[in-house]
Amino acid sequence: MTSLTAKSHRDPSSASYMMDVAAERPWSRVLKRGQTLRIIDSEGQQAVDALLYCRDDPAERYSAQDTLRVQGSAYIELGTQLVSNRGRVMAVITADTCGRHDTSAGCCSCESNAVRFGEATRYQHACRENFILELSKYGLGKRDIVANLNFFMNVPIDPKGHFTVADGVSAPGSHVDITAECDVIFVVSNCPQVNNPCNGFDPTPIRVVIWDAPAV
């Protein structure tokens, strides 16, 4: 792993918000410009799917392809600017103790599970179900689900184009900090997938923490 990682020394007692998100469940919150969201992989090897929308006009949202084009490389890591479909920086990765996150593999759905793993997996809970339910709180729907971020998910792409969801590299307590550059609706699905290694085949809870002020 060549990526740089960095811990940020933030005091949980100064946080303005903290919540444990149960395994397989969604979560969302409006992040104000300047606020920092920390996602903690409490027990390790847990993928966290995420989408961002501009609060003032949710048609402007996180764009994986714009993010990779601006960055010139394929993975999300410390310093990555999360770019919108209008080319605006919505948020920045300001701390990362894991080192590699994906934004090319999308989220699991009942429909894609049935194609990938067989009809028997169609009736398993999936990230898209979580996203649809959480987005409905904001008047958004399936049309609004775009290629998402997958924090703590390891998806190496080799020079031949081979694409594998590999074993998660995040240890218990790994965290990633995302600092908002504008007011955003931040939506998370704590991934329920049990058919590939992204969750160590055993989905677990995560913790989300928000600070109002930048790290010192």
């Binding site: 060549t2 949710p58 048609a59 402007e60 949202r61 764009s63 994986a64 392809q65 714009d66 990779l68 084009r69 601006v70 010139g72 490389s73 394929a74 993975y75 479909n85 080319g87 090319s104 593999a105 999308g106 989220c107 759905s109 429909e111 894609s112 049935a114 194609v115 990938r116 793993f117 067989g118 009809e119 729907g141 399936k142 049309r143 609004d144 689900i145 775009v146 290629a147 792409i157 080799d158 020079p159 031949k160 184009g161 081979h162 694409f163 594998t164 969801v165 049990v194 058919n195 590939n196 290694p197 160590g200 085949f201 055993d202």
Partner: protein, 272 residues
């Protein structure tokens, strides 16, 4: 047996199943990936032609295809790249999904024999013929900012083409998914950096995309943002709508992998 032991056993069983599927997907396709189409192969018979049109550099075209029809995109000069998005005609919330396309096929290298999937686990288009094998699904089209960065001023770009084309279909920004770009040789090095491999572009490269459902596609003919030639690299392309032979039971795209076969089963159910 403790709860922890049960969880571990379930996780172990899930892992074994995944490893079998991965091995089948990456090392043991149902049949091998074909050679690329030879430049002079796959002529279109006169009675199979529906319509041919030229799209000027920097512009876009919107095309409706019935299930079973095909679209040939020809990069006449070897300088163009063509970005594609599209929707299922009867239910336009269903649209192409690049992430599922590469994840389901265990490959980010789209080439002859592969398929483009929708977000509903169905096949949108099949890559029937392909002389190029150099297509991008990861970093998408040009934008106002990318043309400014490359050329000093904003020029025609794929983002604005998609917005304009979508508007004429009654769709908006939220309906525009990530795109596939044909004739865009984006390579990835071991560190994950993107590079442009211009040696893989040749005049008269073409792809044939067979519609697997009734669909609407938008094609944007703008230089890819990584093309070192910048926005000026764009050149006219030819789009030919035609009727290929009906898919036989051993059709390459329908039988390349167990995943593709399942996606076709789910697609055929729409029309059963």
């Amino acid at each position: 047996m403790t709860v922890a032991e049960t969880r571990r056993q379930i996780a172990d069983a899930n892992r074994r199943r995944y490893e079998e599927l991965r091995a089948a997907g990456q090392e043991g396709l149902s049949r091998s990936l074909p050679e690329l189409t030879a430049p002079d192969a796959a002529p279109i018979a006169a009675d199979a032609m529906i319509r041919s049109e030229e799209v000027p550099a920097g512009w876009y075209a919107t095309i409706r295809l019935r299930r079973g029809e095909a679209l040939r995109i020809v990069d006449t000069t070897g300088r163009a790249s063509v970005a594609l998005i599209g929707w299922r005609e009867e239910e336009m919330s269903e649209r192409i999904n690049c992430a599922d396309t590469i994840k389901v096929q265990w490959s980010a290298a789209l080439s002859k024999g592969r398929v483009i999937l929708t977000d509903m686990g169905r096949v949108f288009m099949s890559l029937l013929e392909d002389t190029s094998g150099a297509h991008d699904v990861l970093i998408g089209g040009s934008t106002p900012a990318s043309t400014r960065a490359a050329g000093g001023e904003t020029s025609r770009n794929t983002h604005e083409n998609f917005v304009a084309a979508a508007a004429k279909l009654g769709l908006g920004l939220r309906d525009i998914p990530p795109c596939v770009t044909f004739f865009a040789p984006v390579a990835l090095d071991a560190d994950g950096r993107f590079h442009w491999d211009g040696s893989r572009k040749r005049p008269r490269d073409f792809v044939d995309l067979r519609a697997e459902m009734n669909l609407v596609v938008v094609l944007s003919n703008c230089a890819h943002p990584l093309d070192p030639g910048g926005p000026a690299a764009s050149a006219p392309v030819t789009l030919i709508r035609h009727r290929p032979r009906a898919a036989a039971p051993d059709d390459l795209c329908r039988t390349l992998s167990p995943e593709a076969a399942r996606a076709f089963v789910f697609t055929d159910q729409l029309f059963a």
